[in-house]
């Protein structure tokens, strides 16, 4: 027997023995699992974004089947996946509104001032706790990209000193909203395109001092827009997405704070 034969037999033998061991292990050590868990997991998008509040898609599938979790928690899957799962499990279909994230700050580096020169790690929470953040506005986006790094879909871009969500790529998992130290990111219905992109609760003059695109709390939008489409809380207005908005262009054109904008994409 030459060397080649010996080695072929050796390797082949090891392979056979291992295969046998695995087969035996599968037979005797396997854990019984509800087969529906696998089916549901297959239906989920498999992005493992964690937006549902569970540790990945498999965990959510298990929670749906064994823990009776709601079917509408999967933002990336949306109504389609929820419907399929409902069908698979024989449950009633649920209503899912597709949501996307929006950064409620429009103060980019051309319109918002910085108070000091920050020197430190590129992390928004860290920057925010170093001297209170370098942005003149204590509510505005710092632009150090923690949300972009948290995004499993690569849907957030940092440009001109500010974060922006690319709507077409957003899967609505909401991870960005949880990491933003200033809580600037809100999940809104994907069909909405007009937003008040400011989160400053400061009075008008204070806002004007630090940003050219800030809400001064004049409440003009609540008067010009459809009834209830905009609400005001103190010196900050916000879009109320439960009410329809038809007169968007007028509001956008006349907002003295230049903070109401329409999505480009």
């Amino acid at each position: 027997m030459n060397a080649i034969t010996v080695s072929t037999l050796c390797v082949g033998g090891i392979g056979c023995v291992s295969a046998l061991a695995l087969a035996v292990a599968d037979k005797f050590l396997s854990v019984k699992e509800d087969p529906r868990i696998g089916q549901v997991a297959d239906l989920l998008p498999g992005a493992n974004c964690g937006g549902c509040g569970f540790a990945g898609c498999a965990d959510y599938a298990k929670a749906i089947v064994t823990g009776g979790a709601e079917l509408n928690c999967c933002a990336p899957g949306g109504a389609e996946v929820a419907g399929k799962i409902a069908k698979c499990l024989g449950r009633d279909a649920v209503d899912v509104v597709k949501k996307v994230a929006v950064v409620m700050c429009g103060g980019d580096s051309t319109s918002a001032v910085r108070r000091f020169a920050y020197n430190g790690i590129n992390d928004c929470a860290a920057a925010n706790s170093t001297g209170g953040g370098d942005k003149g506005c204590t509510y505005g986006c710092l632009g150090y990209g923690s949300c972009a790094r948290a995004c499993p879909a690569g849907a957030i871009e940092i440009a001109n000193g500010i974060a922006r969500v690319v709507k077409s790529r957003c899967i609505g998992c909401g991870k960005c909203a949880t990491v933003c130290p200033r809580k600037l990111i809100k999940l809104v219905p994907a069909s909405e395109t007009v937003h008040v992109r400011c989160s400053s609760k400061d009075k008008g003059p204070a806002v004007k001092k630090v940003c050219a695109k800030g809400c001064i709390g004049c409440r003009l939008c609540t008067k010009l827009g459809d009834p209830g489409a905009f609400s005001a809380d103190g010196f900050l207005c916000a879009r109320d997405y439960s009410q329809p908005l038809t007169k968007a262009d007028d509001v956008i054109a006349k907002c003295p704070g230049h903070c109401i904008t329409k999505d480009a994409d």
Partner: protein, 454 residues
């Protein structure tokens, strides 16, 4: 009285350039009273104080203007007589905002003092403790922990050693040194008041050996004081003023991980705080002012100023001749642990150790270079941690991994970042990691409490 050399030396630490000659010969002088004082309600650790005056009220100097907001809190007194102009928000040195009482000072200064306790040597310790609490005394070394709480350890933690912290290991800072040189007798009285409250047998004054004047003055002041009293001459090494390391240097005991000085039978109090204790008890004067040194190569005439709380950094710097050239960094406290400020519009408070102005040549940038594993941080860390590995784990978002190798033991002294040849912002990484761990732990606690309720 005896002067002893420090019997123990902790491992690690660094030898920075001290720059103390800028201000350590300048006698403490009184700052002329400014027209307006913005007195923050949060000049201590714990709950902010609650204002008890209204806008428009006329207040006397030393009058209570805000009461303690909880058990771990401290009251605030008017630093000067005048009229309450407004109650507004202000930003304090660490970058957090809090309420502040703005007082327009009047030309005539009338004081409202508490009744002095001249017979403190025979007074009830409880009375003394109450007085210290009522006078709003907090730790003036930096953390601002309410002194009354510190001086009331639980009965199962007996205190046998009181250490007066006169190390002042931060470069540039000279205020404590001047206090010891000029007010040694008063500090000695304050120390004896503390001893009466705690019933500790040993009294130690810990001073680094680069302050020979202070060592001499304190030794003289304690002459004739009975009991086991000594001045300990410490090696000049940063962070010798860190409580844990000072306790080790003086007693050879290590404060257990996650523990407090009282777990090692010690209470450490900064010398300026001890002076405040004396002032509160013997003179009945609440804590409304402190020595703040304005120093650094970026200031025209560095000085040690006795300043009322609420005066702004800008006014303090103006009183010292203003800036020389363009300042690069304005720091509240020392260069190792102080807080950099965006502008001088910040009010001084009980924990303002100093105001430091650095010119561009004294400032170095942090970078995002990779760690080259030189191990200098490992040698420098006085807590014996592995800063390089910790920072890499935190950068990789493995916060639990970092916590497993003792991230939470970091005291943020900055030795690691000072030696780092790659100029990595190590302390900032640790602060970030610790904040995440603390948030996680708080969330877990809240969850458990909720579960317990059910």
């Amino acid at each position: 009285m005896k002067i002893i050399n420090s019997p123990f030396h902790f491992k690690g630490g660094i030898h920075p350039q001290y720059h103390k000659d800028l201000g350590d010969r300048e006698a403490i002088r009184e700052l002329p009273l400014p027209a307006k004082l913005t007195v923050p309600m949060s000049m201590h650790l714990g709950a902010p104080a609650k204002p008890v005056v209204k806008v428009g009220d006329i207040v006397k100097a030393g009058q209570l203007i805000a009461e303690a907001g909880g058990f771990i809190s401290a009251p605030v007194h008017a630093p000067a007589a005048g009229r309450v102009k407004s109650i507004d928000q202000t930003v304090t040195a660490p970058g957090r905002s809090c309420q502040a009482i703005v007082i327009e000072t009047s030309p005539e200064q009338e004081w409202e003092l508490m009744p002095p306790i001249p017979d403190w040597g025979s007074a009830d310790p409880k009375t003394l403790l109450e007085r210290i609490g009522a006078a709003g005394v907090v730790g003036m070394g930096g953390a601002g922990f309410p002194t009354k709480v510190k001086l009331s350890p639980p009965p199962n933690k007996p205190i046998d050693t009181i250490i007066l912290n006169g190390a002042e290991c931060e470069p540039y800072l000279t205020g404590d040194n001047r206090m010891m040189v000029e007010h040694a007798d008063h500090i000695a009285v304050g120390a004896q008041i503390m001893r009466r409250i705690l019933g500790a047998e040993k009294l130690r004054v810990a001073i680094e050996d680069n302050k020979p004047d202070a060592i001499e003055a304190m030794a003289k002041a304690f002459e004739g004081v009975d009991g086991d009293v000594a001045v300990v001459r410490l090696h000049t090494v940063y962070p010798q003023g860190s409580e844990k390391h000072q306790i080790y240097a003086v007693t050879g005991r290590e404060v257990p991980r996650g523990g407090l000085p009282m777990d090692a039978g010690c209470v450490v109090e900064n010398v300026s705080t001890v002076y405040a204790i004396y002032d509160a008890v013997v003179n009945g004067r609440p804590l409304t002012r402190r020595v703040i040194e304005v120093t650094g190569e970026g200031v025209a005439h560095p000085a040690n100023l006795m300043a009322p709380f609420g005066v702004s950094y800008a006014e303090m710097i103006e009183a010292c001749g203003g800036y020389v050239g363009k300042p690069a960094k304005l720091i509240s406290g020392g260069p190792m642990m102080g807080f950099a400020q965006a502008n001088g519009d910040i009010p001084c408070g009980k924990t303002t150790g100093g105001i430091l102005v650095l010119p561009p040549r004294e400032v170095s940038n942090f970078t995002s270079q990779a760690c080259i594993s030189c191990g200098r941080c490992v040698d420098a860390c006085p807590m014996r941690l592995i800063p390089s590995e910790l920072s890499q784990l935190i950068e990789a978002e493995d916060i639990d991994g970092a916590a497993n190798i003792s991230l939470m033991d970091c005291v943020e002294c900055g030795c690691c970042a000072w030696v780092c040849p790659a100029h990595r912002p190590l302390v900032q990484h640790f602060r970030r990691g610790k904040a995440i761990v603390n948030a996680k732990r708080a969330a877990e606690r809240a969850k458990q409490q909720e579960a317990a309720k059910k």
